[in-house]
């Protein structure tokens, strides 16, 4: 029999002072991110374990996993497995739903802005980018480029190897670049946005108490101010433009010259359109960590200030 609470007992609002870290990770919505961390870590390890295993087999001249396997009937092996996985998922989701209630806060009130006001967790990577880029870049241009870049992958990756099995050796560069983008620039930034950002979007370590009065003054400068030139002046504008455009030009031209000299076949195979597309996407992607380092280490806010937008 269920034990109904005796309403005659004095009900007082019990306030347990929790460890801030536990308080954050036990927020109902954040449990999903904890689950994500575990799942992603597990599957990343599994993928690379299989990739290295296949690489070893290849090196030994043996067929990779599944290369010579036979056909089997779909019914029952596959259907049974699908049903089992479905059951596992449903059991998992049911337990999750019984254990944790979906959050419902106060009724929407446009006059009270919570601090910090966070976007849904899967967009927190983009919100984190707002620290380093203006909204038009972080919120519009970069996400668009991410989607375009993802769709473009099959067309710019002309490496025919590694189709249908895990491997690392045969697709080193594409895997490294993709993993960097996926794990670091997407997932890690989400985790930072969820667990390490507090009021005022300031950095809080898990053991630190959130302090709504906390003021952090970071004397940021623009890049040209580092060398003593006012960034909002004509020379500042020109220098900024040179840096930004120069970064792209150098990023596009330097590998071209290098490959022309050392690996002209590869370049010929790629073709110029594909080459420029790859390098544009890659250079843009690398601009994110570069800008982060500029901002965090050198306290640089903008590189290039124009009357219309700032970079």
């Amino acid at each position: 029999m269920v034990a109904f609470p005796d309403p005659n007992l004095k009900q007082t609002r019990v306030k347990t002072i929790m460890n801030p870290f536990i308080e954050i990770i036990t927020q109902p919505d954040n449990i999903a991110i904890v689950i994500m961390i575990f799942m992603v870590t597990f599957f990343m390890a599994w993928a690379f374990q299989q990739a290295f295993q296949n690489d070893r087999l290849k090196a030994a001249g043996m067929p990779v996993d599944g290369e010579h396997d036979q056909d089997v009937d779909t019914f029952r092996p596959l259907v049974r497995i699908e049903l089992i996985i479905s059951l596992v998922v449903m059991v998992f989701l049911t337990i999750w739903s019984i254990a944790v209630d979906a959050p419902l806060e106060e009724i929407a009130n446009p006059t009270i802005t919570p601090n910090p006001a966070k976007a849904p967790w899967y967009f927190l990577g983009l919100q984190e980018l707002l620290v380093y880029f203006d909204p038009w870049l972080a919120g519009v241009v970069l996400p668009t480029l991410i989607v375009v870049g993802l769709i473009a992958i099959p067309y710019i990756d002309i490496n025919p190897k590694g189709n249908g099995y895990y491997t690392f050796e045969e697709r080193k560069y594409s895997i490294i670049i993709f993993s960097f983008g996926f794990f670091i620039l997407w997932l890690l930034l989400i985790v930072i946005g969820v667990f390490f950002r507090g009021p005022g979007w300031l950095w809080y370590w898990p053991w630190q108490e959130w302090d709504h009065q906390r003021v952090v003054f970071e004397p940021t400068r623009d890049l040209t101010q580092l060398i003593g030139i006012e960034s909002r002046s004509i020379p500042g504008f020109i220098i900024g433009a040179i840096v930004v455009i120069g970064y792209y030009v150098a990023g596009l031209i330097a590998p071209l010259r290098y490959w022309k000299k050392n690996n002209p076949e590869l370049l010929a195979k790629l073709g110029m359109i594909r080459y420029y597309l790859i390098m544009f996407l890659f250079v843009t992607m690398m601009s994110v960590p570069i800008k982060m380092i500029l901002r965090l280490v050198f306290l640089v806010k903008y590189v290039w200030i124009t009357p219309w937008f700032n970079v």
């Binding site: 009900q11 609002r13 092996p77 596992v88 108490e209």
Partner: protein, 870 residues
Amino acid sequence: MANENPHSSNYRAYLFAALSITLLALSAWVIWNDEFGLRPWKHYQKEYKSLKHDKLEKDYQQALQDFRRSGGARRLAMLEAQLAKAEEAFKQKGVHDRYVELNAQLDDLHAKMATNQKELQMTRGQFLETEYYFTKTQKPEYKKKMDELQRQIDTIDGKGKALLVKEEPIRQAIYKLTGGMTEIRAEIEAIRKSLEERKEKIANNDKAPIEIKQYLIKDTDKADRCVSCHAGIESNVQVSKKEPYTKHPLGFVYLGHHDPTKFGCTFCHRGQGRATTTIEKAHGNVKHWEEPMLKGNMTQTSCLNCHGDIKNLRGAEKIANDTELIRKYGCYSCHKIPGYEGMGDVGPELTNVGTKVNYSWAVRWLMDPKKYFSTARMPKFFFTKDQAEAIADYLFSMSGTTRHDVDYATATPNEQLVEQGKMLWSQARCNLCHMTNGKGGNHIKVYAPDLSKAGSKVNKTWLFNWIKDPNKYFPGTRMPRFRFTDQEINALVEYIVSEYQDDEAESAYTTPVQISAASIKKGKDLIQQYGCYGCHKIQGMEMVQVAPSLKSQGVTFLRSDEMREKIGTELSSIGSKPVDLLDFGKLKKSIPNDRLSYIKQKLRDPRGFRLGLRMPNFGLSEKEVNELAAVLYGFTDSNVPVRFLVPSRQELEKMAGVPGYKFTGDFAKVISDVKCTNCHTIKGIGADYAPDLSLAGSKLQESWIRSFLANPDVIRPLLQQMPKLGLTMGPKPAKITMPKFNLGVQKVEDTNRSDVDVVVNYFQQELVTPDIPKDLPVIADIVMPEQIAMGKKLYDQKGCVACHQIGADGGAVGPNLSNVGNRLRAGFIFKHLENSRKFKPDIVEPNYGFTERERIFLTNYLMTLKLTAK
């Protein structure tokens, strides 16, 4: 073992089965949880039903026992025997046959009547059809047919009526045969019914469905499901004292005036009305719900949401009492509070304070008023000695004086004057308002300074001038001008100064010291920073610093009367302010993060949340903190539907365009002098400390008014604020007497009239109502002595003596009637006996429903009750 052959139908069968069973079990748990775990109200309703069943069963058994004991059972048995006998007689051959025969006749008649009725209907139908065609075509043949049909109808109708006439004799004949039985059966039925009803109640209770019960309040977002668990809350009968089954305390006051189906629960109690799954959620004691439930007396805070007048509101005694604290401490001086606009300064005017008090005293007072007097009203601002001196310097320089003290401690007082002063002190009942040595005074209703140490605070010249004419020094003060002669005032001053010396007083500046300009500047800045001008009128502060919000707009100085924003936060909706907007500062972790805790903590320790706060510490006791918090908690902008609002009398008058009452003529001068409204209410103006005088002219006899003003004495032995119906926790009854103002001695200024004449005249001209007749209606048929005798008889019969005192006999709840014949007008008594609540809504006196003649007798009797002059 699991079969590893993927083609086998047993492939991973155990895993599959185990998972299926797990999911099934989880589903079962979900269903069980949804049915019971999340529905605790089902349990409570069942429990309540069984408790109610027990109670009803007990009542039933009790009634059954009473029934048996009271002889009801014997009567029933007798009736049943009679019935049996009657039935036996009825069954005899002749009677029964006759009965059967009559019934057959009746049936036959009914059949005929039915046929007749059907025929009538058909003919009428034909008639209507024909009429339709006739109106459409206007052909005469239809008209003819209509007439024919009408004739038929009349014939059939006539037959029917003839049949109906036959019915009655048959019925009567049947009744004659069975009549005795019917009567006995009816009586048996009546006797049984009283018990059956109880049984039915039990059955109804057992049948009642277990279901969510809720009050849906239209035009609001309320759906209060509290009654789903609090099943007995609406009941008039206490089924169980245990929560949640108990009935609403004082339900006849609260629920009686607020029909739960229209008001619900959460308008008053707050909490989360929709929640039903746990107690914490329902009572709102959970995260993301900012309105925890209000319990007990604290709920009265919600009266403020709708009621404009809290005073004299039944059931709101606690909150009415608590709101006095706002007035006492003058919260409205620094905070904007609705309903407290233009209340006037709470502190004395400081324009000439330098001529009034000793400098050392001022510094000491500024530093910690509570340390000087524990009952001091002025809060502590935590000034350092330097700061206090700077402020005192500013104030003294504005009065044109220097740092100076006068010390009377060493002087020898004039014994004769002191003696006379002491007598005057008690005659004038100074102690009624002023506290001395912890005695006397009334700190909530009438606030006056404690005079225990006055002798070391003020100088004699000032005190003399003050008593002579308080309005001159401080227009708008509540201190009345007593009609003392100069000699008497001298005596009083001598008495006060010699009697009320402060042993701890310092007098560092018996030789005056000049004040430095730098210190004055510093003092001015401090006064501006802490907003002393909120409570005191201060010279040089007509220009005051503006609120920070205006400062950002480039405005730096405003004249005080132009200043819209007060120095403190607006409190109009503090009781519904989102918790996110409350700054808990460094106490975030140490006190519960809810609104009430914040308010209480703010009152306890106003500057404790963080550095830089300016609110002073009022040194409130924990009781006062709770009371004040209860009031503040009631200042909400909750979206109460307009239909719930009960505006105050003033608001209503404003809406109706009735100008507020103003005293006129010479009486206004007397009022501003004697401050009658400190204690009395007259036409809605003033305090409720002493009787309402709005109708005094109709109520009191002139001669009595005159003699009373000359020599006030106790009318009511007990204070008006007696505990009524156990609702209030008012102050302990104490003897309250009106001070002697020495009226009638002096003329009102600019006129030739004595002030008593002015008062009496005004009473008779203005404070009257046409509802109260001047004289008593005369009864001509009975001689006066007999009328008086009958009145006396009524007085004794109705138990008036239980509350009223005549001579040495009687209770002390109502006024003493020993001298009522001299005091009240006969017309008033007559009207009062008709409906005492008409002139005084909160009166305790019951309404006996006297007839007019009875009232005349009683009045005539009461008018004979006169005390002859001592």
